[in-house]
Amino acid sequence: MNEVITNDQEKCDQSLAALHHVIDPEIGLNIVDLGLLYQIDFDEGNKIVFVSMTLTTQFCPMGDSIRSNAGKAMQHAFPQYTIDIDLVFDPPWSQERISEQGKQFLNQ
């Protein structure tokens, strides 16, 4: 099960709700249930949201688009903040990060 590390749970939940609309086009599953998000931190002083996320593979052909869509979804949810997306591959994504809802979706 994936858990997103954060310093502000309330805003993190708000972020996850927004990122629920970002879909991996190949798999058809949103990036939250797919377990692509590692950390979402808020710097209130400088009004910056730091999003640390991954992709199913470093060479995901849809990588640029997924990252861009995640940025736009976050910007929409937090218009007064600068969104800083950090794409990381350590630790690498694994199937274990897919949520129960995600697994149910893929089992359909």
Binding site: P25, E26, I27, G28, L55, T57, Q58, F59, C60, P61, M62, G63, D64, S65, I66, R67, S68, N69, G71, K72, A73, M74, Q75, T82, I83, D84, I85, D86, L87, V88, F89, S94, Q95, I98, K103, L106, N107, Q108
Partner: protein, 428 residues
């Protein structure tokens, strides 16, 4: 404002490199089925027939090799986790092969194996050298050991060996440079190409892509290395036996090794299928999985041929059925499936890359018609089974009907490829 502090995403190979190979392959498949339709009577005769040679080379080079070269320029960076070394070398290999293949096919078709054929073969060899150089430098720069990349690289070396032997055989037609006539070496040329290039490459890439598309956690490096050594061992022992002039029955040894490899690979795919997270398997992956099972058919036909040879009875029909089941069977099935798992992503990125977040974008699989794909699959399976029956029975009417079905397959395939390539963005 959205910023990116850490962009670890390695850039994909540009679509401008990859798409020309796909287009060339699609047109070659159509050309091969037209030739098949016009030459169905050639399949009631000996396999060393000008039209059979022309069709085989259109399928092996124009269809199989060109699409693999195109796809591997996209896939190799994924496998080795590094950028492709040179787009220029990729373009150059396309241009050289693109010019060489028609020259060679035309020469076979007219059976004038003169300087035109030799130039064609030289151009194809030059294209392979460009591809191999690009691959070698890309892998060397990546410095990451990867079993799949080793499969691809070794397969490409075998492709060059196949093409060099092909060139030698062509030269041997006009000047006697080899101890025996070119027909004698045909099985050497064909099997290095089929096993060394196509089979090794399909296993190397398929063992990475099939679990990926199924979202399966199955991964067994040990088994892949075993397959790698068994298959290369089979090929090297075949070459040694070929030049030793030993009894035909000994050829059972490399054949048995290849059979073990096919069973191991089928088991690998089955395990990946069993451990998949995505339960729903789409039609494109289904046809690719079917092609794995179709690999066993040529082996059965080959076994029958060797048994008959041991009793000094050569069967030309079985040899034709064997070649047909490889190029129009196993190889075509996997390409039909995998084209629609790779090309939609390449086109999607080309069209929607800069439009992400501007509105609802279609999914890559929406870029082609699923219904046309299904019809293509039915026409293909019916055409393949019928043509194979026609070859084995030497029945001209069956061959004619089957060739129409395969022509329809090629038309539907080209329709969907063109539909993707001319896709207009649904959002501005």
């Amino acid at each position: 404002m959205v910023v990116t502090t850490n962009n670890n995403l390695v850039q994909n190979t540009t679509y401008k490199v990859v798409i020309p190979f796909y287009v060339y392959a699609a047109l070659s498949f159509f050309a091969a089925t037209v030739l098949l339709f016009l030459s169905d009577n050639a399949f009631t005769q000996h396999y060393f027939h000008p039209r059979t040679l022309a069709i085989t080379h259109t399928m092996a080079l124009g269809w199989g090799t060109m699409i693999i070269l195109g796809a591997s320029h996209q896939l190799v960076p994924v496998l080795i986790e590094a950028k492709l070394f040179s787009n220029f070398l990729a373009y150059l290999s396309f241009v050289l092969a693109g010019l060489g293949i028609p020259l060679l096919v035309y020469s076979f078709f007219t059976f004038q194996l003169n300087w035109i054929a030799q130039i064609g073969a030289i151009l194809i060899n030059a294209a392979i050298i460009c591809y191999l150089t690009n691959l070698a430098v890309s892998i060397w720069q990546s410095k990451k050991e990867n079993v799949h990349a080793v499969f691809v690289f070794t397969a490409s070396v075998w492709l060059l060996v196949t093409a060099l032997i092909g060139l030698l055989l062509l030269c041997n037609f006009s000047q006697s440079i080899l101890p025996k006539d070119s027909l004698h070496y045909l099985s050497l040329h064909a099997h290095i190409g089929i096993v060394g290039w196509f089979l090794l490459l399909v296993i190397g890439v398929g063992s990475r892509l099939i679990p990926m598309f199924l979202i399966s956690k199955y991964d067994n490096r040990k088994e892949l290395w075993l397959i790698y050594f068994l298959l290369n061992g089979a090929l090297i022992s075949f070459i040694i036996l070929f030049f030793s002039g030993v009894d035909d029955v000994l050829f059972m040894l490399p054949m048995a090794c290849t059979l073990v490899v096919l069973i191991l690979f089928a088991k690998y795919c089955y395990k990946a299928y069993q451990q998949r997270i995505r339960k729903q398997v789409d039609e494109q992956v289904k046809i690719s999985l079917l092609s794995v099972a179709m690999m066993l058919l040529p082996i059965v036909l080959l076994l029958m041929m060797i048994v008959l040879l041991v009793f000094s009875f050569a069967n030309a029909r079985l040899a034709l059925a064997y070649g047909f089941s490889i190029f129009f069977g196993w190889l075509t099935a996997i390409i039909l499936g995998m084209t629609f798992k790779t090309l939609p992503f390449i086109v999607w990125n080309k069209v929607y890359h800069n439009r992400a977040g501007k509105g609802k974008t279609p999914n890559p699989k929406d870029l082609f018609s699923e219904s046309v794909f299904n019809k293509m699959g039915i026409a293909y399976l019916a055409g393949f089974c019928l043509f194979l029956t026609g070859v084995l029975l030497s029945n001209a009417i069956t061959l004619q009907v089957a060739s129409v079905l395969l022509l329809i397959t090629a038309v539907l395939y080209n329709f969907n490829v063109l539909k993707m390539l001319f896709h207009k963005p649904l959002i501005k």
